[in-house]
Amino acid sequence: MNISIEINGKKYEAQHRETILEVLNRNGIKVPTLCHMKGFIPSGACRICVVEIEGSSKLISSCSYPVSEGMKILTHSPRVIEARKTIVELLLSNHPDDCLYCVRNTNCELQNLAKEYHVIERRIFGSKNNFKTDFSSVSIVRNPNKCILCGRCVRVCEEIMGVSCIEYTYRGSKTCIGTTLQKGLNTSSCVNCGQCIMVCPTGALSEKNQTLAIKEVLGQKNKTVVVQYAPAISVSIAEAFGLEAGKDINGILNAALRKIGFDYVFDTSFAADLTIMEESAELIERIKHNKNLPMFTSCCPAWIKFAEEYAPEFLPNISTCKSPQQMMGAIIKSFFAKKKNISPEQIFSVSIMPCTAKKFEAQRETMSHNGISDVDLVITTRELIELIRVYGINMNQLEPEMTDTPFGIRSTAGKIFATSGGVTEAAIRTLYKELTNTELQKFKINEVRGFEGRKEMKLNINGKEIGIAVVSGLKNAAELITEIKNGRNDIHFIEIMSCPGGCIAGGGQIIGSSKNDIELRMKSLYHIDETENLKLSHKNPEVSELYSCFLEKPLSHKSHELLHTKYEKRDVLL
């Protein structure tokens, strides 16, 4: 049913039950929002989105108010603008005011609003907050003093991740977002996904920044500093340098990392190929013996921690494969070290990930060999961008370069790991070959592509039906697990990524990218897959070489020693 309304004196069509904000957005009329998140039920907490409605004495919040026939709306009347300005001033009244020393300086919604509404003096004085910053997590830093209580983090953590380790606590002027008993995030059920950082409008949430440590180690002469970057990185940073969003700048990235001073540069996509070799062999074994099925993927460390906390009974079902980051780390400090005649102790292994949970993963006890950790330091996309800037690298002036050998070649199967469904497509290609001894002809599997939180399909190989599910967003994973607990048994392989859409939308990525930017990253990955020739992990010549001169074969003794891991039930406050 169509209804007609008037906005700022002009007529517009609207749908019954639409909110005012939806109509405004659709017609390119911008009103600010803070607590609002697209796709979530409005909470109406912040009131920055107020508009004036003829005949109503109160200003109303447009994000939660539905349109009705004949409604006359003013979005920028003097009264509305003044009200919004006052709201911003109130939010600032207890704010630390240390923008210059804030991680979100120049990329802060509160700062932007203060500028937009011309807040140039302090009219409202409130007592400052005096909360402790929580540095306990290896991934996430939480500074409640900068929090404006919009509640976005709380909602993402609960409604997308199904974790709910943070919540509004206390009330009135003492209200703050906190954990159970205000304990450190490290002892909570937080899975380190970083999705809360991605939605926080201010500097209240950020990654544990490690750029200083990188600068230090790059200055040390006696260390060989090796870097790997995840498949998502090369399609995720272009926009930060004025290039078109989603553009694959792989070669330029290699050049930039060498300029910064890294001695060797690797693409984690190579290790993704390696993961596919191990993981598909593992799946075949499990199907053959009908054991520990369905098998869950293990590349996403936030999912792993989630399972250890919430679904320990399914730990035997998770692939024992280390994630590509950790496999890469392990072979860098073994095969590569030997080949280059460098002792593993002398190597400092850095990885660049679109992910905050990878920081946690790298320091898990099991992610080491003979007391030497696979990966020494993990930085996110955001920290990488910081480094590129601080080292004065001009991305527009660099000539593309190749990654280093060995491990210098990747298939496109390894590359598409960065998107939800990618691991599955890559695995199917190798699985098909292993089971039929012929190559798959049609690579593209539309059923597992896209941003849908749950995708399912049945694959028919040699008359055997293999059930496949692809999930992103841990809340969706929890739902699927419940179905399995309740007896669902038609699925053999389940890919789980915590972040909605996969690593291209990871918690370490650029803050403030639009949905469209993220879609472009996905497009870019599939374009690479479409246009390049080497599409199969098992056809990667450097992977074959690694097996023939070091690992022998998938699931070999050596593989188990270096490339596989185990999981343990975790006791945290659920």
Partner: protein, 157 residues
């Protein structure tokens, strides 16, 4: 081993989420505070994340999350006490003991609780320590009272 908290929880069969507050009240009544064990077990029983239980509990002033001290000090914030300066008394008390209302000193000796009118308005501002009332408390007086308790402790040892 079955704890007191288990026993309380067992009494609530087919419990719904809206009984959270009475349940927490009963636990506090029995234990003197809401412990981590209480939060975890209540969360399990009601299928609510512990953060939500804690969030609800902190919303109300009545719950505390640390066991009360040997000397439990209740500061009245009823209207009469308020008018006659109980806020200053509370502030002073918090600074002497270096804890906030709802907390307990590290040595377990003192805890502070802010209570609504305790019905002794004639004595305002009034505090009660383990049930014993102290009338017309001022900043100086509260210091003296605490010092007395402290020396009592030292002499006993």
């Amino acid at each position: 081993m079955k704890t007191k908290i288990d026993e309380i929880l067992e009494k609530y069969e087919n419990i719904e989420r809206d009984s959270l507050i009475p349940l927490l009240q009963e636990i506090q009544e029995s234990q003197g505070y809401i412990s981590e064990e209480a939060i975890v077990k209540t969360g399990k029983k009601l299928q609510i994340p512990t953060s939500k239980i804690y969030g609800v509990a902190t919303f109300y002033n009545q719950f505390r999350f640390e066991p009360i001290g040997k000397y439990h000090i209740q500061v009245c914030r009823g209207t009469a006490c308020h008018v006659l300066g109980s806020a200053t008394v509370l502030q002073e008390l918090e600074s002497i003991l270096k804890i906030k209302a709802g907390q307990t000193t590290r040595d377990g000796l003192f805890s502070i609780e802010v209570v609504a009118c305790i019905g002794a308005c004639g004595l305002a501002p009034v505090i009660s320590i383990n049930g014993e009332f102290f009338a017309n408390v001022t900043s100086e007086k509260i210091r003296e009272i605490i010092n007395n308790y402290r020396s009592k402790e030292i002499n006993h040892e």
